[in-house]
């Protein structure tokens, strides 16, 4: 196997828009000039809002979608030209997946998917039972899949993905819609799986910053089909170390206030989240003393400060710094 688990070179994907009317765009650029090198053994994150191109990139890497330009290699093989060599070495788990058949039990569904990868019966049953025990699903092994809750079903999906012990696993929002405990169990399982055999590679897509921060050796931040930055979460956050970040809860803001921050010297980025009865402001300032000016501007717009907090930069701040919008705002604009 190649030293790189995943490599993309100038990778691009354009979708044709069917039935577009006159004057409307005929194409949509989903990925543009993506260059990534993911060494074997790395836990690599793709972080971006919905519609950023994360799933398109994963679909190309798992041989479900052809690139429009450039090329991608997984486990050393070209995904477009040699999919038959890529497929035995990979697997994928997506959030909210409803794969399998409801009338089969958990064990039976997993056995079926194991067979599709050529695992012999004994190995499949043994691995199914071992993995079900590890993820805490052994007591539901003989439950019909249609009777499982969302969280338990996703645990089954995780077992399906890891059953074949792939060299490279793609996790596309694997904790989507799960409660805190189920998400933590899944994160722990994946982390241990990585730790136990160097050389296993995970590519995780998420729009949950904390998940990327906690799990990933390196993270690429992607928006509108382009990779904007790629490094370890610590290095990405260092970009903002010279700045100071404040989170302020204020009484509901009028439109003019936010516009004032966007043009105020010393304010690098300002994002606003209107909640019921209050507004949340996240400000990246070049220096501490700019805060005085911010507070006086808030007062002049009649806003009352409810809470003010200085905090360490997060990956969300890195995203705001790179894109100019919060993740939620980027999703809305998409």
């Amino acid at each position: 196997m190649d030293a790189l688990a995943i490599k993309t070179e100038s990778l691009g994907r354009i979708y044709k828009i069917r039935g577009s009317k006159k004057g409307e765009p005929k194409e949509r650029v989903a990925l543009s000039n993506v260059n990534l090198d993911v060494p074997r053994g790395e836990f690599f994150g793709l972080l971006g809002p919905n519609g950023a191109g994360k799933t398109t990139l994963i679909k190309i890497l798992v041989t479900l979608l052809a690139p429009s330009s450039g090329r991608a290699l997984v486990a050393g093989y070209d995904v477009a030209k040699e999919p038959q060599n890529v497929r035995p070495r990979i697997n994928m788990v997506s959030g909210g997946e409803s794969s399998g058949y409801g009338l089969l039990t958990v064990r039976e569904n997993l056995w079926m998917f194991g067979q599709f990868y050529g695992l012999d019966n004994n190995t499949t049953w043994r691995r199914v039972d071992e993995l079900l025990e590890i993820v805490g699903l052994k007591d539901r092994a003989n439950t019909k899949t249609s009777d499982l809750s969302t969280g338990l079903r996703q645990k089954m999906n995780i077992v399906r993905g890891f059953l074949t012990d792939p060299d490279v696993i793609f996790l596309d929002e694997p904790t989507l819609g799960l409660d805190v405990n189920a998400s933590r169990d899944i994160r722990n399982f994946v982390r241990n799986w990585m730790a136990e055999r160097p050389g296993r590679t995970v590519l995780l897509t998420t729009h949950t910053m904390a998940e990327a921060d906690e799990l990933c050796d390196r993270t690429a931040i992607i928006n509108a089909g382009k990779v904007l930055a790629c490094d370890s979460p610590a290095v990405l956050k260092k970009r903002l170390q010279r700045e100071v970040i404040f989170h302020i809860d204020v009484s509901p803001l009028r439109n003019g206030a936010l516009a004032a921050f966007n043009t105020m010297p010393g304010v690098r980025k300002a994002t606003h989240n209107a909640l019921d009865g209050k507004s949340e402001l996240d400000l990246i300032l070049t220096e501490d003393h700019v805060l005085t000016e911010v507070i006086s501007t808030l007062s002049s717009h009649g806003a009352h400060i409810l809470n003010l907090q200085k905090r360490e930069p997060t990956l969300e701040d890195v995203f705001v710094d790179l894109v100019g919008l919060s993740m939620a705002e980027a999703e809305k604009s998409e």
């Binding site: 798992v62 052809a66 994928m92 058949y101 009338l103 056995w111 998917f113 067979q115 695992l119 136990e196």
Partner: protein
């Protein structure tokens, strides 16, 4: 949580192919035991239509073998329904529930998946057809006079291979149609009932229409089986049984080859266009 477990060894080639066929057939076979509603919906209710034809034939004092034709037609209807609803439109439903993406990105071949669906469907449907046949024979006192068990077995087997080959071909083509597959299935169902002569000898259509209808494997298959199991069958048959067997061999090979060609072509096309696994596109 530890993940230190049994190591994996993967089969490829023909072993993987057969593992996939068996695994994909499994849900259909096991479904018979788990969801028993089919006994009512897929055996008893279709049997009512068969009974309707039997009483019409009795009312008009048709030859007694026509009762047998109707019972056999009722049993064979189960196979056609299975091919249309559980084969032709199946890949489309697999796409909708997310299985298709997993089938494609696994190292198996999609032909193995389709063959597994066909084998599982054939097993399950043979059970339904057998119940209709036994019930009809017992209730309506059908008299069978089998002239050649060997030919009967050959005709039935070839009819099934050709029919499920057609189903595999439809399954590939229906991937192109998306949601319209449902309407296409509805549109095909009744004309095939008529053209295949489920409840009457296809010879009644005249040579030209019967020849065109013979592109459907059930037309030739049922005509040949009637000739082989009823005393008056040969006199009401469309063409001779050996010719029908030859035609079924050609249809079987043709439909399976066409299914393989289209499946591979449509898979390539869909991967190019991004339509294969995206429910929105």
């Amino acid at each position: 949580m530890s993940t230190l477990i049994t190591p994996v060894k993967q089969d490829l080639g023909w072993r993987l192919f057969f593992r996939t066929v068996i695994a994909r057939a499994y849900p259909r076979v096991i479904g018979q035991m788990r969801e028993k509603a089919w006994i009512i919906f897929e055996t008893f209710l279709p049997f009512l239509a068969t009974a309707g034809y039997v009483y019409v034939y009795r009312a008009i004092q048709a030859p007694e073998d026509y009762i047998g034709f109707a019972v056999m037609g009722g049993a064979m209807t189960a196979f056609w329904l299975n091919v249309m609803w559980m084969m032709a439109s199946q890949l489309y439903w697999e796409k909708e529930n997310g299985n298709l993406a997993l089938y494609i990105m696994a190292p198996n071949s999609l032909m193995a998946i389709l063959l597994g669906m066909a084998v599982g469907g054939l097993f399950a449907t043979t059970l339904r057809a057998a119940i209709i046949m036994i019930l009809g024979t017992w209730l309506f006192q059908v008299n069978f006079v089998v002239s050649s068990f060997v030919q009967l077995f050959a005709v039935f087997s070839l009819t099934m291979v050709a029919l499920y080959g057609l189903g595999m071909l439809f399954a590939s083509l229906f991937l192109l149609f998306g949601r319209e597959a449902w309407q296409i299935v509805m549109m095909l169902q009744e004309p095939v009932y008529l053209l295949s002569g489920f409840y009457f000898p296809v010879r009644s259509f005249g040579f030209v229409v019967a020849t065109i209808a013979s592109l459907l494997p059930l037309t030739l298959g049922m005509d040949a089986m009637r000739q082989l199991v009823f005393a008056s069958g040969p006199t009401l048959g469309f063409i001779s049984v050996p010719i029908e067997i030859g035609a079924l061999v050609v249809l079987s090979a043709g439909f399976i080859a066409a299914a393989k060609y289209w499946l591979s072509r449509i898979e390539r096309l869909a991967i190019q266009e991004g339509t294969l696994t995206d429910r929105r596109r």
